[in-house]
Symmetry: C2
Subunit: 179 residues, 2 copies
């Protein structure tokens, strides 16, 4: 399940060099603006969903994105067991559902909010997400505490008129965009 450290890239894995504290790293990362996403899954291992900013496009050959997930997260086993997920990109007005899926609420209570349909690969699709990427897991790389879930995108659904919700400086911001 591990990718191999790459000696040919002259990687210097000198743990002593890293003097950056978690706090310094997190403060710096708060200055990297991101979209806000609810990542969902459903299948034999159960329905689950959580709010995440660590989502990234990878390549369009094949259409692929990635999601970073802490292996100690309560939702981890559901994603592992189902091996499908949907990235629902949130828009203006989605702050409450973002907080709900980022908190400690039970899965049933999370999915009681919002209108959900089922994607082609089986995961819950939030009907008013500004875009949803319905995916199958294709590859995993472990990095420290987290797994990078690399996913092939099976289908997308897009609302062209939606405004983007951005998280920056530990606050939500609604982009005002003319469509």
């Amino acid at each position: 399940m591990h990718s191999t450290p790459v000696a040919t890239w002259n990687v210097v894995d000198n743990a002593d060099e890293v003097v950056l504290t978690k706090t310094d790293f997190r403060n710096a990362m708060s200055r990297l603006g991101t979209a806000v996403n609810i990542i969902t899954t459903n299948g034999p291992a159960g329905r689950a969903g959580f709010t995440a900013s660590a989502v990234c496009s990878v390549t369009d050959e094949p259409p692929s994105l990635l999601v970073c997930l802490n292996r100690s997260a309560s939702v981890y086993e559901a994603f592992k067991g189902n091996a499908v997920l949907c990235v629902n990109v949130l828009g203006a007005g989605h702050q409450d559902i973002s907080n709900l899926f980022g908190g400690k609420t039970s899965m049933d209570d999370r999915f009681a909010v919002g209108n959900w349909s089922q994607g082609q690969a089986g995961s819950p699709v939030l009907d008013d997400a500004i875009v949803s990427f319905d995916c199958r897991l294709s590859q995993i790389t472990e990095v420290g505490t987290h797994d990078i879930l690399i996913c092939k995108v099976v289908s997308v659904s897009t609302r062209l008129e939606g405004q983007s919700l951005i998280y920056f400086n530990r606050q939500y911001h609604e982009l005002q965009v003319e469509n």
Copy 2:
């Protein structure tokens, strides 16, 4: 250099299922707002830099981020040879330098714009980036046409007062944030 496809996650690698075209994927991805970053390197393989949105926090144990890079990109060999990079997160007013590093201009002409210093690991640091992450490459995962460069963050420098530059709907947007 490859991570292993994970059979235990019930991964279904059925290429026939993907009916999504590149155009559909790219149009959908244009709806995922991102920060705008200039990724730089310097060392034995030469100085290089390019504009990228595919940057993502991974974990704070150890402090790590990732950058996705097309293996056919002109800058690829420089990043491969140096095995260090800096993620310079752009702010309001950085649209011109973003376009410069996203175009076909020579490396010397790119770095003639902006004020640069040298990070601890050796890469160019843009002095007025809203945050810069000075990194060493620690792990690589190939996905389709791209490499995911997983990097350990050695040091950061942060400007606390800067406004964020966001790319969404194929346009730049400046977040108006009270600091």
